[in-house]
């Protein structure tokens, strides 16, 4: 199996009485994308900050690329790149100045540093914005300069803390492309996200984390399989027939059918796909018109709901402050 890029045992961190990270065990192989999925406040950022040596764990152990994050912090720092959730570049400086600053700090000569900065700006499609202050960048450009800043010296491992939070779909796709590009070149990526979709798209393996603990781990397929065969989604022509349809479906499928947010729709988690066709036939025999139906693998949303008992994506009320 070889060594792991990241290995933690019983990692803990509390802030006052809040147990932000309450015993996290991770084993992340070298290469590929490892996704840490969880809602706001689940402990994702705290975990990453401990792994990137910014926070000292209260208990437990963590090794990054074979180095202990406390005892060999400096060795870890010289091998990893960190792109934090918030601005990790200086907004007052221009794009090229930010990269040149980091290049100089990491040992490049002035001339080579400037070349390196230019190369990075080109690679991330920021050449035209090189001499503009970062505070004038759009959200997508900001994220790209943040990531570029983590690559000034090519890291063996890069931490991306919610790299696409707040981005429009196009910028998000672009960030995904860069992540895939980095992985293709052999960089290991540890990415946190609260978007199930993102973990599903990018990550080879996923750890689901909630209240500071890993509650499930595996490939996205494994996680889905752990929830069941999938679900049947049905949409009716007449919403008032939903209660009856619920009863019919439950009868055939032998699992409860649940009304969806859409007043004409309902869904049921199924254990036996064989029964699906029969249940649809039964609906039509009962005089219930179905306008749409879909049989799907469970979404990670459902996985999350099953594992934690609450939905993954937070309502924005928390951000109101």
């Amino acid at each position: 199996m070889g060594t792991f890029a990241i290995e933690t045992r019983g990692l803990k961190k509390s802030f006052g009485t809040t147990h932000a990270v309450a015993g996290v065990d991770l084993a992340v192989s070298v290469g590929g994308v490892y996704g840490v999925l969880g809602p706001n406040g689940a402990g994702k950022t705290t975990t990453i900050r401990m792994l990137a040596t910014l926070l000292r764990p209260d208990a437990g152990e963590a090794q990054v690329l074979g180095y202990d994050v406390v005892r060999d912090a400096r060795a870890v720092r010289s091998r990893v790149g960190l792109t934090g959730q918030f601005a990790s570049v200086d907004e007052d400086l221009t794009g090229v100045e930010n990269l040149l600053l980091l290049a100089r700090l990491l040992g490049y000569s002035r001339r080579r540093g400037r070349e390196r900065a230019t190369d990075l700006l080109d690679a991330f499609g920021l050449a035209e914005a090189a001499d503009r202050q970062v505070k004038k960048y759009s959200g997508g450009m900001r994220r790209r300069i943040d990531i570029a800043a983590s690559l000034v010296v090519t890291p063996e491992l890069i931490f991306l803390d919610e790299p696409t939070t707040g981005l429009d779909p196009r910028s998000r796709n672009q960030v995904w492309e860069f992540v895939r590009g980095m992985v293709a070149e052999g960089t290991t990526v540890l990415l946190t996200t609260q978007y199930l979709d993102e973990a599903d798209q990018l990550a080879d393996r996923i750890a689901v984390i909630d209240h500071g603990k890993v509650i499930a781990e595996g490939s996205s397929g494994q996680l889905k399989a752990s929830v069941g065969a999938g679900s049947l989604h049905v949409r009716l022509r007449a919403p008032e027939q939903r209660a009856e349809a619920e009863r019919v479906l439950a009868g055939v499928l032998e699992v409860p059918a649940e009304p969806s947010a859409d007043p004409a729709a309902l869904s049921a988690r199924i254990s036996d796909p064989e029964r699906v066709a029969r249940s649809l036939a039964e609906l039509s025999r009962s005089g219930i018109d179905v306008t749409e139906f879909a049989l799907g693998q469970p979404s990670l949303d459902e996985v999350f709901l099953t594992l934690t008992g609450h939905a993954a994506e937070e309502t924005p009320e928390e951000d109101a402050a």
Binding site: R104, A123, F124, G181, M182, E185
Partner: protein, 280 residues
């Protein structure tokens, strides 16, 4: 994939460029001096991009010099001209000490914005972001000092110690300011917002500069207050600056200033670094 061209396609990721970038070299790590100077360069770049931040080093000293000279000069020393000879070295001290406050506010802003996480995750000598910021501030102190001295000369300040005395006193001031700044870096790592840093700094700063011999001779103060003035390092600093500018070399007092500078760094430097290392 398909022919949808309704919206402009996003710029394709230039894969070759990315590949080239990721095949980068691994240069040797630079030493503490170079990394500190590089952070100092960052501070200068910030002055270049945000020149408004020089308001405190330009307007504030001008305002204070003019106000004290013309409002109180006549009453305190018989004439504004005479008071100016006494006041100007003191105002120079006060201006510099006040400007040091900015160090803490800037650092706290960096922490709030998250850019400090990046710096802390770099494999560089750990104090270098702080030392670099303080080095950059030396430029600000120099600008502030130059403005006060120029204004003084225009208003009729005549230093008997000549250019040498003036330059020496400014150098000593820079040393002291650099050392005092560690107090503010410490505060900025303890307090949560730039505003609270500014608030607390002012609370320290006003008594520190006013309860001294900057503005008046302490002879008329009550005895206990004279005692306070006597132990205030700012008093000794003002005495030294005044002495050097007017042509005397108070060797003992210079020793005092250097010792208190060293003490400031020895106490607040390590505390700052511990806080910095353990910052959440």
């Amino acid at each position: 994939m398909n022919a949808t061209t309704a919206e402009p396609a996003s710029a394709p990721v230039p894969e070759d460029a990315l590949r080239r970038v990721l095949a980068g070299e691994r240069p040797a790590r630079p030493g503490p001096l170079l990394t500190s100077l590089t952070f100092g360069w960052r501070a200068l770049l910030k002055i270049k991009h945000v020149p408004e931040q020089l308001v405190d080093v330009t307007m504030f000293p001008i305002m204070f010099t003019l106000m004290f000279t013309y409002l109180f000069g006549g009453a305190l020393a018989g004439s504004t001209q005479e008071y100016l000879q006494f006041l100007l070295p003191g105002i120079l001290v006060q201006a510099n000490v006040m400007i040091t406050m900015n160090t803490g506010i800037t650092l706290n802003t960096d922490i709030q914005k998250g850019v400090f996480d990046r710096f802390r995750s770099l494999p560089v000598w750990r104090p270098s972001p702080l030392v670099g910021a303080l080095l950059g501030d030396l430029v600000r102190y120099s600008i502030g000092s130059a403005i006060v001295i120029m204004l003084g000369l225009v208003l009729g300040f005549r230093p008997e110690g000549g250019a040498v005395g003036v330059v020496l006193s400014v150098v000593l001031l820079l040393v002291f300011s650099f050392c005092l700044s560690w107090l503010w870096t410490m505060l900025s790592l303890i307090l949560r917002t730039p505003n609270s840093v500014a608030g607390v700094s002012l609370m320290v700063m006003f008594p520190l500069t006013f309860v001294s011999n900057i503005f008046v001779d302490p002879k008329t103060m009550p005895g206990w207050l004279q005692g306070v003035v006597e132990v205030n390092p700012i008093t000794h600093l003002a005495t030294v600056v005044r002495g050097l500018m007017h042509g005397s070399v108070p060797a003992g007092e210079i020793g005092w200033v250097l010792v208190s500078s060293a003490l400031l760094v020895a106490v607040f430097g390590p505390i700052t670094m511990v806080l910095y290392r353990n910052k959440k």
